[in-house]
Symmetry: C2
Subunit: 212 residues, 2 copies
DNA sequence: TGCATAACCGACGCATGTGTCGGTTATTTC
DNA sequence: GAAATAACCGACACATGCGTCGGTTATGCA
């Protein structure tokens, strides 16, 4: 005779959480279109139908995951940057906070930052919203420093600069996933080196000549 | 009576080129999984079957487009950066070359740089190859400058810095697609401001003092 | 002009995948 | 311990889309 597991049931809220966790993994690994609900269901230890008891559609499931993980990101970063300290220290703290998030939740980072699935109108709106508030948040945080650089907080080009900062930093995080052994501190150092110090700076050599 | 177009036929090479052009557009707009061969065919003014007279599968079609457009990118950028000039000028020229490519062929930029479709093993290999040679090429180009900054060309962290440069620059290009009215020169200026000068620098102070 | 080639098409088979519906059974509550 | 609720499932309907195959017709060439 087969030893039949007594088929435990689980309260809805728990199941829902497990589905979201599973969806995060699969969506991050395969992308939206390539993931089948079947795979999420299996990974959550349940049948496909159950997913539809909790979410009306695949699209809504993704959007839910997106928003939830973004909230986690905001909370994570917000919790570990201080309003005080020198601009340099603030920026360093921000890099460290983001890389620490990327370390803790690599799948969330992937899902939130890798540009994909922009063909679906509804998903696109959500992603753009997240992206936009993110850019604004960073811009606000750096407002003081940026304006000292002659970059007006309202100016278009300032927004562009912030976008460069964000995507560049995330590019570093992406690279990190392929070289996980590099310690986080080294990444922070590299980011500071480029974005804060700038490439023009010489290490120990004499002065650099700019201009003709 | 209907005016029947005499149903012109077109030599295979031309048709092939048109298909590739159409595929570029649709793939860039929708992403790999979301595009139907039907759409590419229609856009190329032909039936779906014809696509299979030229390419054995959707996957190979994408890979072909990828490689072809990447070759164009390499050629475009390579043609307008000089080996001579000060490091700052070389970097500036590179930014300008890349943004000019993004301006000319926005779809190619999107397809080549937006990270997507990594679920398909075969496509993944191609994308990673392209990405890798790109990183190496930039690293080689900046080798002198980077090593003057204390970044050893062979060191891992140098690779990371290059990755930051590339993704950050492309982030700027992405932003540009949403704000097309900004002149290219402004983008180049912004990129130089952040990546070359660095955020720590003060704004309108007269000369930049480096060293003593 | 007639033949060979190559561009082109319509329709089919097959696979995959979403969302729905009715039914079953564990769990809770009174 | 019986009724109500809520978790769970299997199977179906329907849609989409890839790749194939045999046939048709324009075009170039002898």
């Amino acid at each position: 005779m087969e030893v039949r597991e007594p088929k435990r049931r689980v309260p809805g809220s728990v199941r829902r959480a497990r589905i979201i966790e599973a969806a995060l993994s699969v969506f991050a690994a395969r992308g939206y279109h390539a993931t089948a609900m079947e795979e999420i269901a299996t990974s959550a230890g349940v049948t496909r139908s159950v997913l539809y008891d909790h979410f009306p559609s695949k699209r809504v499931l993704l959007i839910t995951v997106l928003q939830e993980q973004n909230a986690l990101l905001v909370e994570h970063v917000g919790a570990r940057i201080t309003g005080s300290g020198s601009p340099g220290h603030r920026l360093r703290a921000t890099f460290d906070a983001y890389f620490s998030f990327a370390e803790d939740r690599p799948e969330a980072r992937c899902l939130l930052f890798d540009r994909t699935d922009e063909d679906d109108a509804e998903i696109k709106v959500v992603r753009w919203g997240i992206r936009e508030t993110r850019t604004r948040a960073v811009a606000a945080m750096l407002a003081r420093d940026l304006s000292r650089l002659g970059l007006d907080p309202g100016a278009l080009i300032t927004e562009a600069v912030v976008e460069l900062l964000i995507t560049g930093t995330d590019g570093l995080a992406q690279w990190w996933t392929r070289h996980p052994d590099v310690p986080r501190a080294d990444l922070v150092e590299a980011a500071m080196r480029v974005l804060w110090t700038g490439l023009s700076q010489l290490p120990l050599g004499p002065a650099v000549h700019v201009g003709k």
